[in-house]
Structure formats: structure tokens, C-alpha cells
Symmetry: C2
Subunit: 215 residues, 2 copies
DNA sequence: GGATGTGAATGTCTTCACAGCT
DNA sequence: AGCTGTGAAGACATTCACATCC
């Protein structure tokens, strides 16, 4: 299979979300321009992205909403639910365990892990919390597909190594640190601190420009 | 000023983090290769990124750790604290209000906003929650620099429009939706659902490859 | 007529490779 | 000798523009 860029996949997710809105409005077809306007991109980009996976539209007409939405579900692997575990049930991990958007998209968080003995055995948002010590066994037994890492930065690489050691293939990292995974393991990092610093940069930059008369 | 890409700014944040580690270890200089190894990129990339902002290294020697860390603080606008407000104090918003990484990097969350009258007047993580109705006035009076949006997708654009209407220049969005802002307003979106779907795509893709014999 | 699908052109980011400073 | 700084090359992503089909 040809390599597909991360940004294309990201946009496919967006397209699918907006397709559902069109569907709710009862629209039967959309043009690439319609979708682009909603997703914040261009018509050509929409067509290029979709063309990677096949031809879904009819010339002169546009794309059939329901059919394209279904195709995107297939492409994105959302046809069947995935089993997810959250490692680290602090504020962030706990919030993720209750995040409705995950469940409604077919990501079922079935377990949490924590090192704190006081938390082990309790439930958060109705989801049982297990001991960090049992992570490897539980990941295998409960057939976890995706591991969400929500531990402090210093502990994250160790968690990932252990998870990968028992066959984890997909990891979503919320620790503010760059992680290493072997080939064949999918890793995404959500680094909120880095995003904030990006804004800080923009503010500082604007201020510098102002002081200089914005050359 | 020349345009600097988002990915460069993102990496500068990472470099700064790792520089602190080197500093803690007592190292006085680092090479671009050292930094690259930690940040998960290449030596050439590190040098290119830094060269956009000046020349910080000494040939044959490397970069002075403390000095470069300081320069990056300046570049990223982290020399002085920023005042932040969180709109929407549900699970995600609440977790962000307690996120230590923000405060320790100089992002001071001074206010929360919520539409729920039961929450208004209370505090979350020691931070007062104000009424959503008073948002515009409070943003101005409390001189908020950065607005974090943690409301449901359907409410996000409205919040952004109101904030921008009273002069907000930087927005960090956690709602799973693409937002519009006028020129000159910095916007970053953290779309956790989209990231998960990226992993779902990778898993589905691996599975498709396996069934086909991985061409 | 209207909108797709796509090669070609353009733009952007990354990597190479090496001259030049310490 | 070691490592930076940087033009040039290469890879990748986006946009253009148009033939093609409904």
C-alpha cells in the first residue's frame, strides 16, 4: 500500500465528522467544496485526499453523503469497536476515561491502571482501575487494542516499553515527552504544553513585531 | 519577520525541555546530534531550526546549554508568565485547570467559566469559576492572554467569536471541531478524537496488510 | 453545466554535504 | 579533529488547471 500522510488521515477524520452533519441535515450529496468549507481546507485537497483511497464521487454531482461516510468508516477502521486502556488515572487520565467523544466513536475504555494502591480496585467513570503491576497480564487478557498513556513524563517511556513488550500496536501519549517505539507500533503524542508554547510564541512574536513596527 | 513553521516552533519547545535535562546533568554544552537524539529528530534539523533565530553554537564545540535554553525561553515568549482562562469546566476543562505542567511553564490559569449555575462561584483546583455570561467583561478586566476552549463541539465557535470580539489573540481549542478565527489570532486545536482515529487507521491498515500478505 | 479525478506546477519542509570556524 | 551554519538537492504536500464524465 502506498504511504498515506498523517495529515491526510487527520483530514479524513474531519471529513467524516462533517459528513455526519450533512447527513443529519438530510443532504444526499456534497461537493468537495462543501466539505472543504466546513473542514477548513480546499476543494482540491478534499479530492486529492479521497482519491488516494478510490473514486467515490460522480462528476457533475458530488459525493453521495451516506456512502462516503461509510467508506471513511472503513478506511479509518471504525467499523468495529476498539478496546482501550488508560494508564495513569490522575486528572488527565480520569477525564479521558469519561470523555464521551471516545465512546461514541467506538473507542471503549475498558480498564484503567494506576500505581496508587488507594485507587486500585475502585472505579472511575464506571471503569475499573487495576494495579499498574498487573498491566502486562491485563493488557493481554482483556485484549486491549490501544493504550493511552497519561502518566508523568518520567514514567511514560517505561510504560510504553512494557506495553510494547506484550504486543501493544497503538499508543496515544499525553505525557509531555517524546517517546520511542519500534517499527510497526503506531504512536501519537498529544503534547498540550507544547501547544500552549506555540501560542506563547505567537503572542511574543506579535509583540515583537509591534515594537518594531511590524516589518 | 520571516515565517516560521509550526513544526519548527513545536520542536523548539522540545529542545528546550531536553536542554533542561542536560542542564540538570551538569552538561555545559550539547551538540546538535545530542539534542536530536533526545528530541527524536536529526542533527541537521536541529541546526536548521535554531539557525532561523540566530547563531547560538560554536563550531567544533556545540551549543552552550544554559545560554541556548535562555534564548529559547525568549523566542518562545516564556520569559514572563501568561494569564490563561479556561472556558468550560467539565472533566477536560477541570483537568486542565489542575495540570501542573502549565503552571510550571509560566501559564497561570486565573479563571474558569461555566454555564452551569451550580458551578459558578465555586472553585476548581483552587481557581474561581465565573459565569459564562460575564466572560467578555472578565476576559478584559483580568487581562487574559490565552483562552482555553473546553466546551462541547457545538458551543465552541460561539465561545471563540465572543472571545475574539473582546480582543483575544490566542486560543487553545479542545473541542473536536475545526474553528474559524480572523487573521492575527493564534489558534491551536488539540483534537483527541482525531488522534485516536489516526491510531485506528493504523491498526486497520496493518490488519489489511496482513490479510493481503503485506505487499 | 457542474463537479470530479489527476498530472503538472508550485510551495514547503527535510536531508545532504561541505566550507569554515574553534 | 569536531561540529556548526547553510546553500543546494531532494522529498513531500498542496494548489492549479483542465480533460473527463454525469
Amino acid at each position: 500500500m502506498k504511504k498515506v500522510s498523517d495529515s491526510t488521515v487527520l483530514r479524513l477524520s474531519l471529513y467524516r465528522r462533517h459528513l455526519r452533519e450533512f447527513q443529519d441535515q438530510g443532504r444526499l450529496t456534497v461537493s468537495s467544496g462543501d466539505l472543504a468549507a466546513r473542514a477548513g481546507t480546499t476543494a482540491a485537497q478534499v479530492r486529492k485526499d479521497l482519491s488516494v483511497f478510490g473514486t467515490f464521487g460522480k462528476r457533475g454531482l458530488g459525493y453521495p453523503v451516506a456512502e462516503l461516510a461509510g467508506a471513511l468508516r472503513d478506511i479509518l477502521g471504525l467499523r468495529r469497536p476498539w478496546r482501550v486502556a488508560v494508564v495513569g488515572t490522575g486528572r488527565i487520565g480520569g477525564a479521558l476515561m469519561g470523555y464521551r467523544e471516545f465512546r461514541s466513536e467506538g473507542f471503549h475504555i475498558v480498564l484503567g491502571f494506576d500505581a496508587d494502591p488507594d485507587k486500585v480496585g475502585s472505579t472511575i467513570q464506571g471503569i475499573p482501575v487495576r494495579s499498574d503491576d498487573d498491566m502486562e497480564r491485563e493488557l493481554v487478557e482483556r485484549e486491549i487494542d490501544i493504550v493511552i498513556v497519561a502518566v508523568p513524563a518520567g514514567a511514560a517511556q517505561r510504560v510504553v516499553d512494557r506495553a510494547v513488550g506484550v504486543g501493544a500496536r497503538a499508543i496515544l501519549n499525553f505525557a509531555p515527552v517524546a517517546l520511542e517505539v519500534p517499527e510497526g507500533v503506531a504512536l501519537r503524542t498529544v503534547n498540550m504544553a507544547v501547544e500552549l508554547e506555540g501560542l506563547s510564541y505567537a503572542l511574543a512574536e506579535a509583540r515583537r513585531d509591534a515594537h518594531r513596527g511590524g516589518e
